[in-house]
C-alpha cells in the first residue's frame, strides 16, 4: 500500500505539469487584456509599456517557464517562510505571483478567502453527509415506505431546483417575512468580518451560516442519499445478508455492520472525489449570500482578466482533484479487502 501510494504520488508530478501547461496555454489564448479595464484615456503606448512591465512581451515558453519557477519553487519556499519561519535563500526579496488587478500576492488572497469557503461550503458538505447516509440507509431498508417516498421527493427537489432559486426562497422566508427580532430570523448576507470570540458571536456565526449551508447541503444531500440508497439496495439482496440472518444476528447488526460496511465502499469514494469541489467554492451560492470565498475570488479574477489569479486557482483545483483521486483509491483499498494495490 505504501509503495503504491508513493508510486502514485510520483506519477502525479508529470500529470500536474501537463495540467499546468494546458492551463497556461488556454489562458494565454484567451482574448483577454489586463489593460482592458483601464480608462480609455490612457494612450496605446502607455498600455504597451504596462504590458511589457507585466512581462507579456516575452515569448510564451519563456513566460511558462518563469511561471513554473515562480509557482513550483518560489511560492512553496515563501509559504515555508510565512508559516514556519524557515528561511531558504532570499526570503525578503523573493518575487511573488501577483494579481494584475490588486497587485497583491495571489497566494495571500487565496489564503485570506479560504476560511469563509471552508466554513460554509465545507460545513454544508459535512451536513449533507451526516444527513444523507442515514436517509439512504433507512430509505433502502424500508423501500417504498412513506419515508422512502418522501426521501425520494426531497432528493428530486434537491436535484432539480437550482441553488440560486432555493437561496432566494430561503432569503425571502427567513430574512424578510420573519421579523428581524424573531428568533428564527436569519441574516441574508454573510458578514465576512465577523469574528467568533464568545458564545453570542458563535451563535451569530451559526445563524449567518445557516442559509448558505442549507442551500448547498440540500443539493449535495440529494445526490449522496440516492447513491447511498442504491448501494444499500444492491447489498441488501446479497446472499451474505441471508447468511448473517441465518446466524441469528440481530437485524440491527445485520444492517449496520454487514450491509452498511459493504454499501459504504462506493459512497466513500464518491465523497472523497467530491471534496475538491468544496475548495472550488460554490460560486453561485457565495454570490447570493455574499460569502467572500474562493468562488467569488475566481469570478472577480475572470471578469478582470486577472490571469495570474485564475491560473493559480485553477491549478490548485487540479492539484486537489489529483490528490483526492488518490485518497479515494486508497480508501477503496482500505475498505474493500478484495482490492489490494501492489
Amino acid at each position: 500500500m505504501l509503495n503504491y501510494t508513493i508510486r502514485r504520488l510520483i506519477f502525479a508530478i508529470p500529470t500536474l505539469l501537463f495540467i499546468s501547461f494546458i492551463i497556461f496555454i488556454i489562458l494565454d489564448m484567451a482574448p483577454n487584456d489586463p489593460t482592458g479595464n483601464l480608462p480609455l484615456t490612457i494612450p496605446p503606448e502607455v498600455r504597451q509599456k504596462i504590458r511589457e512591465s507585466l512581462g507579456l512581451d516575452a515569448p510564451m515558453y519563456i513566460r511558462y517557464l518563469l511561471w513554473c519557477n515562480q509557482f513550483f519553487i518560489n511560492e512553496p519556499l515563501n509559504m515555508l517562510h510565512q508559516w514556519f519561519g524557515w528561511c531558504i535563500g532570499d526570503c525578503e526579496g523573493r518575487l511573488r505571483v501577483e494579481s494584475w488587478i490588486t497587485r497583491s500576492p495571489v497566494v495571500d488572497s487565496i489564503v485570506e478567502r479560504m476560511p469563509q469557503t471552508l466554513w460554509v461550503v465545507g460545513m454544508s458538505y459535512v451536513v449533507s453527509i451526516l444527513v444523507a447516509v442515514p436517509i439512504g440507509v433507512i430509505s433502502a431498508y424500508k423501500q417504498y415506505s412513506w419515508f422512502d417516498q418522501a426521501g425520494t421527493l426531497v432528493s428530486m427537489i434537491g436535484f432539480a431546483v437550482p441553488t440560486f432559486f432555493t437561496g432566494l426562497v430561503l432569503q425571502i422566508v427567513f430574512s424578510t417575512m420573519i421579523p428581524s427580532d424573531h428568533w428564527a430570523w436569519l441574516p441574508s448576507k454573510y458578514n465576512t468580518l465577523h469574528e467568533v470570540t464568545d458564545w453570542q458571536s458563535f451563535v451569530y456565526q451559526m445563524r449567518q451560516m445557516a442559509m448558505p449551508v442549507t442551500v448547498l447541503a440540500l443539493y449535495n444531500m440529494a445526490q449522496l442519499s440516492r447513491f447511498m440508497r442504491a448501494s444499500m439496495l444492491d447489498n441488501l439482496s446479497q446472499d451474505y445478508v441471508r447468511t448473517a440472518r441465518a446466524k441469528g444476528l440481530r437485524e440491527r447488526t445485520v444492517v449496520l455492520v454487514h450491509v452498511l460496511r459493504n454499501s459504504l465502499i462506493p459512497v466513500v469514494t464518491v465523497i472523497a472525489l467530491g471534496v475538491p469541489t468544496i475548495f472550488g467554492g460554490a460560486i453561485i451560492t457565495e454570490q447570493i449570500f455574499g460569502v467572500n470565498g474562493l468562488g467569488a475570488l475566481l469570478i472577480i479574477g475572470i471578469q478582470g482578466a486577472d490571469i495570474p489569479l485564475v491560473q493559480t486557482l485553477t491549478f490548485i483545483f487540479a492539484v486537489l482533484i489529483v490528490l483526492f483521486n488518490l485518497i479515494a483509491d486508497i480508501l477503496y483499498g482500505l475498505l474493500d479487502p478484495r482490492i489490494r494495490y501492489e
Partner: protein, 334 residues
C-alpha cells in the same frame, strides 16, 4: 416409526405464499414432514418446487413481506416455532438450527475476515469472550478440514477456494452445535470432486456430532448416497416420501419415476439424448386444487384433473400423493 414427541422437528401442513404485484404466488402448499434426531432427510425437486422456501419458512428467513406464512404448524424440540418471539427465533437461527446455502462464493461477507464471521454466532449465542471464540473458531476450521486454521482465520473469503468457502460455511453452521442442520443445495455450485469431498465431510461430521440434517438437492445421486429418508417435492407439495432404498426400489409417483428415468444408466444401451420430463413446472397463482403434475403426466386421467390427491400410505413408511397405482396401472382405490 419413532414416537412423534421424539422428533426434533415436526412440520405439518405448512403454507407459504408471496404477495407480489402480479398477485399471489403459492410457493409452499401444505407441506408436512418430520425429522428424528440424527436422521438425514433428503428433499428432492426441480428448481421452483418450493424446497428452499419451505426451509426458509421454518426460521422466517424469507423477506416478509412479500412472503407470508399462511398456515400450518412448526414444532422444534416440542416448542411451537410460529408462536416464538423474534428474540427466541434468533436463538434458534444459527444456535439450534444451522443453515448452509447453495453458493459459497456469495454467502460470506466479502469485507470481513473468516474468523470474524465464524466468531459472530459463537459470541451471540454462546456468549463467548473474544479469546474463547477465537479458540473455538480455530477448532471449528480444523473440524471441517481446513489446514493451517490459526492463520486462515485472518484471511478474507476471496482468499479461499469454492470448496474451502463451503467448508467455512459448514463451520459457521455447526459453530453452536445445532440439533438440526439445514443444507440448501450445498454442493450444487461446486465441481464434482469438491462435491464428493463435501459429501464425505458431512457424513463424517454427522457421525461425530450426531445432528439431524435436512439436505435439499435436485441431485438424486447425492440423495441415494447420504439420505435415510427422501421427500420428493413438486409445486410446493411433497408428492412422495419414503426411506431412501424403498424410494429407489419402488417409486410410486409418476414424477419420481420420471426423475429416475432421466438419470443416465451406467450399464446397458444409452439413449442418444438425455431423457427429460416434457413441459414446465406450474407457476402457482392459486393454491392447487387438482394434481399439479397432471399436465405433464402420461398416466393422468379425469380424477387427476379435478381432485388434488392427499398423501396415501402404501406400506414400508412410504407414502405418495397420486391417484394412479403403478401396480395395477389403473386408479388407486382410496
Amino acid at each position: 416409526m419413532l414416537d412423534q414427541n421424539a422428533n426434533v422437528l415436526d412440520v405439518a401442513n405448512l403454507k407459504t405464499v408471496f404477495n407480489t404485484r402480479d398477485g399471489m404466488v403459492h410457493a409452499v402448499n401444505g407441506v408436512s414432514f418430520s425429522l428424528a434426531p440424527g436422521e438425514l432427510l433428503g428433499i428432492v425437486g426441480e428448481s421452483g418446487s418450493g424446497k428452499s422456501v419451505t426451509m426458509m419458512s421454518l426460521l422466517k428467513l424469507l423477506p416478509m413481506p412479500p412472503a407470508e406464512i399462511q398456515g400450518g404448524s412448526i414444532t422444534f424440540d416440542g416448542q411451537d416455532v410460529r408462536a416464538m418471539s423474534e428474540d427466541r427465533l434468533r436463538r434458534l437461527r444459527g444456535g439450534e438450527i444451522g443453515f448452509i446455502f447453495q453458493d459459497p462464493m456469495t454467502s460470506l461477507n466479502p469485507v470481513f475476515n473468516v474468523g470474524f464471521q465464524l466468531m459472530e454466532p459463537l459470541r451471540v449465542h454462546m456468549g463467548m469472550s473474544k479469546a474463547a471464540a477465537r479458540v473455538r473458531a480455530k477448532e471449528l476450521l480444523e473440524l471441517v478440514g481446513i489446514p493451517d486454521a490459526e492463520r486462515r482465520l485472518k484471511d478474507f473469503p476471496h482468499q479461499f477456494s469454492g470448496g474451502m468457502r463451503q467448508r467455512v460455511m459448514i463451520a459457521i453452521a455447526l459453530a453452536c452445535d445445532p440439533k438440526v442442520l439445514i443444507a440448501d443445495e450445498p454442493t450444487t455450485a461446486l465441481d464434482v470432486t469438491i462435491q464428493a469431498q463435501i459429501l464425505e465431510l458431512i457424513k463424517d461430521l454427522r457421525e461425530k456430532l450426531g445432528m439431524a440434517i435436512i439436505w435439499i438437492t435436485h441431485d438424486l445421486g447425492v440423495v441415494a448416497e447420504i439420505a435415510d429418508r427422501v421427500a420428493v417435492m413438486y409445486a410446493g407439495q411433497i408428492v412422495e416420501h419414503a426411506p431412501v432404498k424403498e424410494l429407489f426400489r419402488n417409486p410410486q409417483h409418476p414424477y419420481t419415476r420420471a426423475l429416475l428415468e432421466t438419470l443416465p444408466k451406467v450399464e446397458g444401451p444409452r439413449n442418444e439424448r438425455l431423457l427429460s420430463i416434457e413441459g414446465q413446472p406450474p407457476s402457482l397463482s392459486e393454491a392447487p386444487s387438482t394434481c399439479e403434475f397432471a399436465p405433464r403426466c402420461k398416466y393422468a386421467f379425469d380424477k387427476c384433473r379435478t381432485d388434488n390427491p392427499a398423501r396415501i400410505e402404501v406400506g414400508n413408511s412410504h407414502d405418495v400423493a397420486c391417484w394412479w397405482d403403478p401396480t395395477t396401472g389403473g386408479p388407486r382405490d382410496a
